[in-house]
């Protein structure tokens, strides 16, 4: 009966709440891409670089200073860092932000800036290291 009367005023009244979240698709896209990298690439990366390498289980010279430098400081190395460092960082930032909301830590607007900001800074650092290595 008064369905229209019930809906109409509220539309204008809550216009502040109806703000479009144009940034969220970006964060979610980076989160999803990072999630794919974390799931598909990271198991092998962690196994080889953080477990087999320090345990000395890789054949000697496979990741010697010279070999590691030539692998990392290259265009494929740049892409590798993008997929293994940068995207997973944004994945982690997204989950940490929502996790902090889940356990009521801080406020979301600030957490958002801190988390995505840190991910962006560390990503820039990582890519910067590769570029510096390629130039030197």
């Amino acid at each position: 009966m008064n369905k229209i009367a019930m809906n109409k005023p509220s539309m204008g009244q809550n216009s502040a709440q109806h703000k479009q979240a144009f940034d969220e698709p970006l964060w979610w896209g980076l989160f999803s891409a990072g999630g794919v990298c974390f799931a598909i690439l990271l198991p092998a990366v962690i196994l080889f670089i953080a477990v087999l390498l320090p345990l000395g289980l890789l054949p000697a010279e496979e990741l010697s200073y010279e070999r590691a430098s030539s692998l990392l400081f290259s265009v494929p190395g740049f892409l590798f860092v993008g997929a293994v460092v940068c995207l997973p960082l944004f994945h982690a930032a997204h989950r940490l932000r929502h996790g902090m909301f889940d356990i009521s830590v801080g406020n979301d607007a600030l957490n958002k800036k801190l988390m995505y900001g840190s991910a962006a800074l560390l990503s820039l650092l990582a890519l910067g290291v590769v570029v510096a290595g390629m130039l030197s």
Partner: protein, 131 residues
């Protein structure tokens, strides 16, 4: 009935997720990023070490071999696999793949993603493990 008149409850207490096994597993899934961040920071340190020279690169490898770092990175390996197990089953639900009007069975998409993990590991073996 005005829109603003309906009653809102205060937010859940922060321990809500301890009350059910399903929510604990959800939190575990979300927490997989903590060891991931640790590994990523290690990797960043290694990249900086590599840029600095041969000596600091060897130093970084020694650092990676210290028991606590190794343990945390093994945790990161386990976390990446748990994340993979939870993430792969979500994919066909978020992006159902349709071929010629029929949706691809979920199991096929999940198996395909695990095959991806194996292929990447083989690629690493080809790149680093042949001696």
């Amino acid at each position: 009935m005005d829109k603003s008149s309906s009653q809102r409850l205060p937010p859940l207490k922060r321990n809500w997720w301890l009350k059910h096994r399903f929510f604990k597993l959800y939190m575990l899934r979300e927490a997989t990023v903590l060891p991931l961040v640790f590994f990523t920071l290690c990797l960043l340190a290694g990249m900086v070490a590599l840029l600095q020279g041969a000596e600091s690169w060897q130093g970084w490898i020694a650092f990676m071999g210290s028991p606590i770092v190794l343990l945390l990175n093994l945790l990161a390996l386990a976390a990446s696999l748990y994340h993979a197990a939870t993430f792969f089953v979500l994919f066909p639900r978020v992006m159902p793949i349709r071929i010629a009007g029929h949706s691809l069975p979920d199991q096929v998409i999940v198996a395909g993603q695990w095959a991806g993990v194996v292929v990447v590991a083989l690629l690493f073996f080809w790149l680093l493990g042949r001696g």
